[in-house]
């Protein structure tokens, strides 16, 4: 690879005339008349077309190289970047302080979380829940007794309907009649050993 120093570069040859012309054409440096002449020449000479392709490729490569170089290294380009993408350079000392503060905060958060998850705190949470539930129940009993009564009545009505739909057996009705007669004294006293009254 030839490495030109500043001295011998000033004596270095220039780029080929046709290539230079093509590059100026691609860069838009030619006047309108020169540009027209160059295009007419391109119609006759394919090598000029190739020179235009080469010049386009070279300019693209150089502009990409300049772009990536300026983004990567140039402080001027760094200043033009949006603030969010440019990270300020901090000294090592301040970085240590920031790191220490982050660790301290993390430990504090961990301690708080651990205390919240301890058995005492679980009991207190349960007690709070129980109190809240009791309060809610008391409120319900106090305010909604009528509702509950209505509800009970409805349930009773439903159950009465259910009973009325049943057919009572004959022996049950007989037993109830006998029991009622016994309580009113209509039934004669019977000796348990005397079986004549039964049959």
């Amino acid at each position: 690879m030839n490495n030109l120093s500043d001295d011998n570069l000033h004596e270095a040859p220039l780029i080929d005339g046709a290539q230079w012309l093509a590059l100026q054409f691609v860069l838009g440096e030619l006047t309108e008349e020169q540009s027209e002449q160059f295009q007419l020449a391109m119609m006759e000479d394919v090598s000029l077309c190739e020179a235009v392709v080469e010049a386009t490729r070279l300019t693209a490569g150089i502009s990409l190289a300049c772009g990536s170089e300026s983004v990567a290294s140039s402080p001027v380009s760094l200043a033009t970047l949006p603030a969010s993408t440019v990270e300020p350079v901090r000294p090592a000392f301040s970085r240590t302080i920031v790191l220490g503060a982050i660790i301290a905060m993390a430990m504090t958060v961990l301690a708080v979380v651990t205390l919240q998850n301890s058995p005492e705190s679980a009991l207190s949470v349960a007690a709070d829940d129980a109190t809240a539930t009791a309060d809610a129940l008391a409120m319900l009993l106090k305010n909604d007794t009528s509702t509950y009564a209505n509800n009970d009545f409805d349930e009773w009505s439903v159950s009465e309907d259910s009973i009325s739909s049943l057919v009572a057996p004959e022996w049950l009705l007989t037993a109830v009649d006998l029991d009622a007669a016994f309580e009113s004294g209509d039934l004669p006293v019977v000796n348990p050993d005397d079986e004549s009254g039964i049959y």
């Binding site: 780029i15 693209a60 772009g67």
Partner: protein
Amino acid sequence: MQWEADLKAFLLGILKNRDLAEDAFQRMVIRAIEAAQSAHAATLRGWLFRIAQNEARLLLREQKRQATHQKGFAEQVASGQSERQVTAKAQWMLELGLVNEEAVQAIQRSMLRLPPEYQEVIRRRMYDDQTFAEIAEEMKLPLGTVLTWMRRSLLRLKEDSQLRSFADDLHDT
């Protein structure tokens, strides 16, 4: 497809705008299909370049006609987008495979070996899209000096062995 990439680079060189170059390429393909019977294998590449150039010139004429109607707007757009256009064109060449990362790195290395003032001229012309006249004025140099520095630098970059091998690889494909 190497020919496609070369033809698009050629059209970009003429039209200096990616969208126009894409448009001209589509028109060129249609025209080439229509005129396929006049093509000869030996002169196919030159024939395609000629069709591409004709389509580019037709497109430029249409653009000029439109630009006269919307002159103020066109100038406003052109001035605001010139730097972005440079990047967009370069990115397109990267997508087409006419330039790759190795070539870009080789150019970077070559540029670092150039004198700082030469690097400055290249960067201003190729990246910041300043004209040679503007560069000469800002750097307080004669225009001829700026042009000579540019020509020497470009030859230096072109003659870089890594760039040459990359170019040879492209032509082999």
